[in-house]
Symmetry: D2
């Protein structure tokens, strides 16, 4: 059984615990044969009657003494009966509903729960969070390190992909160890998490990389010549001038410099229930190790929410990176990171999106570039439908005349392709609907 609930409690300051007598939010965990399904329960009490929602399903029930019972009804009218007792803000009980495989059978699962704190009064807050542990997986099973609300900002740090911090000290296992997860209160499966990258800065003077070309970028002729490559290379980062240059540069690269342009290689929410934890080197609809060199300071990353609280992870900073991350390691370094989060309720998102002042991209990720370009196109199409109300014929004309496709990464199990539109292209169009950000 996974330990999110207990762990969550440990990061909720006592002063924060809910005082509102009539409105409550609970995080439930259904033990489905050993797999933990997290659900968000929001309810209002009217005497002993309660009403509200379990995720997006309507729910009604009763609260009397330490007993809590309710019935939640899914879109098809099927009822799930929850019942149990509440002790010290914790729920223990069970749910009784139809069997997954046979609607004529019943299945009963144990349920535990924990009441979530109410939102603190006042404006959004800025949290400074100094990480002490790091995650090599994107997972819903890991204890949140902090609970934040929409509009809040977190100032924190990431260590490099090898686990090394800003002081050169190894703090975690290699493989893109991540800072987080941050539990974003109110975020529910089906919502979108908007992560505004407010600040992304170098905090040390070197980055580590490799020479070499990833297998996906080499045909047989190049591969036949690439035998000796794959050695570690160190880059010196000049933070004042914003330039990276090679330590011990070979003669012909003596003057070669690269502009520093820090990116977040990894940014993710926890994957959906029913999926295994994802390696911090993997990617998917949840984001992850996208290694997109456009995720820089000033951009906003949109990710679909699969778990209550979203569970945001960040890591794997690069001081600079070409498209494709063809050296397998980019200029890997630690970073100072500052993020503000928002929640867009109930909005389907087939791919991660990245928005800057000048453009918006959908990031298609798949096992081949041919599939990734399809996914990216679908993601950008969805955006034009949602935000501009265009139909498929109109969208096709916008894409045919204006879309840009860039290979984002070639270095992982997934490759990535960004389908991008410049905002200037779309300026003449009336944006259909403001996106309803919840704060």
């Amino acid at each position: 059984m996974r330990l999110l609930l207990a762990a969550l409690l440990s990061v909720i300051p006592a002063t924060c615990i809910a005082q509102d007598a009539s409105r409550e939010t609970w995080l439930l965990m259904v033990d489905r044969w050993g797999s933990a399904e997290h659900q968000m329960l929001t309810l209002e009490r009217r005497g002993s009657t309660i009403e509200g929602r379990l995720g997006r399903w309507p729910m009604t029930g009763r609260r009397s003494g330490d007993s809590l019972t309710f019935v939640a009804t899914d879109g098809g009218g099927t009822a799930y009966h929850y019942g149990g007792i509440v002790v010290d803000g914790a729920f223990e009980g069970s749910v009784d509903g139809p069997d997954d495989n046979d609607p004529n059978r019943r299945a009963v699962h144990l349920v535990t729960g924990r009441r979530l704190p109410d939102r603190p009064a006042g404006p959004p807050r800025r949290h400074v969070f100094e990480p002490t542990t790091f995650s090599n997986e994107f997972t819903a099973a890991r204890a949140p390190v902090l609970v934040i609300w929409p509009g809040d900002t977190v100032a924190t740090r990431t260590i490099d992909s090898g686990g090394v911090d800003e002081h050169g000290v190894t703090r975690a296992l290699y493989g893109n160890p991540q800072t987080g997860p941050f539990f974003v209160a109110t975020a529910m499966p089906g919502d979108v998490l908007a992560v505004h990258v407010r600040r992304l800065r170098l905090n040390r003077d070197y980055a580590d990389s490799l020479d070499g070309i990833v297998g996906r970028a080499m045909g047989p002729s190049l591969a036949a010549r690439a035998g000796g490559l794959g050695r570690r290379v160190r880059w010196r980062l000049d933070r004042e001038r914003g330039l990276a240059s090679l330590d011990d540069a070979p003669e012909r690269l003596k003057g070669f410099t690269v502009p520093v342009r820090p990116i977040l290689g990894g940014i993710a929410v926890a994957p959906d229930f029913g999926f295994a934890p994802a390696s911090a080197g993997d990617s998917g609809r949840f984001g992850g190790n996208m290694d997109d060199n456009e995720i820089v300071e000033g951009t906003t990353v949109y990710l679909p929410v699969f778990q209550p609280g979203a569970l945001l992870y960040v890591g794997d900073g690069h001081a600079a990176q070409g498209d494709g991350e063809t050296t397998q390691w980019a200029l890997e370094t630690s970073l100072d990171v500052e993020l503000t989060v928002d929640v867009i309720p109930a909005r389907p998102l087939s791919t991660p999106r990245v928005e800057s002042d000048t453009q918006i991209s959908a990031i298609g990720q798949a096992g081949s570039l041919d599939d990734a370009v399809r996914s990216a196109t679908a993601g950008l199409t969805q955006w034009l439908e949602q935000d501009y109300g265009l139909d498929l014929s109109e969208i096709s004309l916008v894409l045919g005349s204006s879309v840009e496709y860039r290979v984002v990464t070639l270095a992982g199990r997934n490759v990535g392709v960004a389908a991008t539109l410049r905002k200037s292209s779309l300026a003449p169009l009336s944006k259909r609907l403001p996106v309803p950000v919840v704060r």
Copy 2:
């Protein structure tokens, strides 16, 4: 038997025919079981002795009366014996060499030939060429429309992919009919043809396109919804403001405009001997229907030469095009085109290259994006080796930090990917060798 030779004669003005008593250039055509292999013979006469090169092979022989005999020797020391008679600047004879399949057998093939004109005296010239016929294939079998020399400029026109000219008149069969081929004197197999796009301008007020999304850009979900698409759409081209807008725009695209940025969708040399003619809709190492929206006015396109004279084709202009040409037809239109050609001798080129003031790209073309990205990487690697003398380790560091990958086209049998480096990245490096352009 293909008719290049006879045809060639028809485009060589009589005044041009060679007068130099001692130096001669001949175009030979070997009839290899019905396939025409073109060879360039350059020779110097010293009395009745001749010396020179057949392609890149050394050659010696005799010229006496109307008899011409010589022996050319390939890199492995194998001798090919040519002999025949010369009448009116035309050669008729045969070649005797080892059989393709059995070195112990001899094979004799008929050879015809034609003496090429000497280079006109004076500086490079500017030719105005008004096309009257168009080619739906990239082929060495088609009569050159003009003989030009390195450094010369051609001002001509292209019609649109449907065969329609600047007056709206259909002049050729649909399928990217091309202007050309231009015979670039001195260009030999193994050389590189540099085509400088001096001018690329709209010459009419509309472009034709389709709505729709090419199959390669659609996964199953999008495909399931794209049923009704594929209709013709007309764009209005405002040449003064440089903007394209839709005729009969649907309500939501009323204000939608696209900046005009004319490109040459097709630019090619004739494919190598042993290859079939390529459709004007196809692409390959010879260039072709690359549909690269970076082939704009001011750029230079480098193509490997496979045939004597290179045989340059251009066509399929687009007023504008997004990456991928996802509507299958971009904004198809006719164009005024002005090109200057140069020949870079004896330089291998694994892919077409496109250079602008600010960047250089290698265009990988293959049946999948995964293969195209490999080809593009190899092409850019080759460029860094040739022009900067970098080794593979150094190149990998340049690519890993600085390469850009863009999807060029998704609309053909081949897809295309451009691997690009900004010249600013490479400015600190000392360019190893000047590229020896022949003029």
Copy 3:
């Protein structure tokens, strides 16, 4: 202008020329700006009135003196006006119809034509055809070598991919030179050509091959080790025992033998109008260099017809071949070939099909295996719809439980995948409709 018509005449024996006063078949060639579009005209005369079909379009007109005029109407009701004169069984005239690009304009094209012979009386015939020239392209522009009728059989030979015949003599240029094309009278665009491979036998005692692994089968690690490969290898063919063994076998392969199982690597019809000639090394919906080791004696190959007469080519025999043709050259050899042809009228075919006594396969061909498997699935789906009347749900159940997918070739520009069903799987189903073969 391509020369099919004139050439065709040369292969029609004079005794064969049509004698039937009232029914005529003509092959027309429309000169569409230099591209030859072939059309089949079948008509019946009633006095000076004629009626019939141009391809599949209805046609009516007049024949008086040497004047022939008629109007053919396409599916959308658009009329095309043909007119000209008939002299010595040849037609010369023009067609007047709407412009390709602008329905308000007219386009006039020259038309030439040739009356085709009537079908000889009697049962289907067996032709023995000894080839003297070979084609390195699949093309509608090449002169047919023989006119045959549905039900006829042709006994002929193919030379090996290097152009070498059964006596070891080079007879054609390397690159899979083909025997043919055979003009199959009555076959029209939209029909299916069924080619029954009656006999496929070795006619010499050796085959030539290479060592090596094609690039598509090698990842970076294997490629890094494959440097020295690509050498010619000769196999000895023991025709009595039906075994191939290596000449000069390395010690460890001394006993290694391969069962002889001759295949036709190349079998094709001419590609559609508007497409360039295909290299004899290329493949597509027209068949071509499919290199399918299931095209053996006893199988039937189905190809969609794109040109009047289909124009059947065969070549590139292999004594044996593993899946994928991973050595680039299989066991290349010359073959004795005997084929019977049938025509199935008006039947769409999205891919070539191969049928044996025990199974039927659809051959998907594309630039990647991922696309080829999609094409093969679509082809097999089409077959189950056509022959069994199954709907897509039913087909999915048949495929999910019973389909077999095999990689056919990795050695060409296209790769191939066969989607196969065993006939035993389908025995319980009632075949909906007999396939109407025309003889």
Copy 4:
């Protein structure tokens, strides 16, 4: 911290605990910043001196009182210092070695350990194991359900991919819940686990499936028509006649039957340290959800060992399956399974292999068929090198003439391709070395 160690103890019968005074095997778990790295320690005691191996590294040390200290040296000569105390067969201590990122720094990690039981005396045993819990992940973090030795046989059951057992009762979460893991004593990283599938039998009378075609098998045209598919379908399994037929078959599929041929869709070892747990629906070098319809009774599956004890999982039985598992669900059912395991020491294995009486296959798994065919080719090449001592040239000749490529699955994140050789092809070759199976 993952709990393998403690869990392991619970499945080791007390009677089994090691009695041999001089030889001991320990399972150690190094806590690398929260990730558990398992190591196998085998040692021999000579007085207070100990000698042996940590994994494959040589080790020497001292055991006195409850103190255990030793130094293990890796291939490069780097020493790792272990020290701690032993209480009740459990070790607690630490390891001190060079930092992952900086050889000049030291890193100290906590280590716990548990002495493994000695091998029971007597011949290999047959275990009957009735599973009560199931795993939705392939992971090294899950408690073994049984400890077995090479040569042992396990008779057990698998439930279907939806979690339903032989009685129709849901026992686990959907998503291919697996039986296991089985801890195979002596198996170490770098070894190969050979799993002989002795028995694979239906144990209920139905299987569940879907209609529909997976996205990877559909191009745009087919996808546009597949809208309504994806419904559940039940197959009736006739165990006597060995035939599956559709419940409620549509009229046209009334007589359609499929031969029952049970396969193990899932067979895996735990992935390597540094990798995340794999979903039971995923696959890789560790095997997993390979969905190979050739993994039937009588075959042997070879998997590379990544973790001490290998940790074998099996599940996801199919009563029958076409290539590709194109319905996403094959004929999903529960199975009786009997397996015998062997360990082949120190043998690299780049892919899983499947061997039957008549053939051997390497299973390439990747994000595209194009990559999977490369992996399968490399895997089969490796086998020919290991077992026949062939060089790459010789291997290429065997493959070119004899290899078979089959698409294994299209239904997962990875697709699979099998590269297969018939044993009859190789019979004439002398197998170089017997494979040294450890029992």
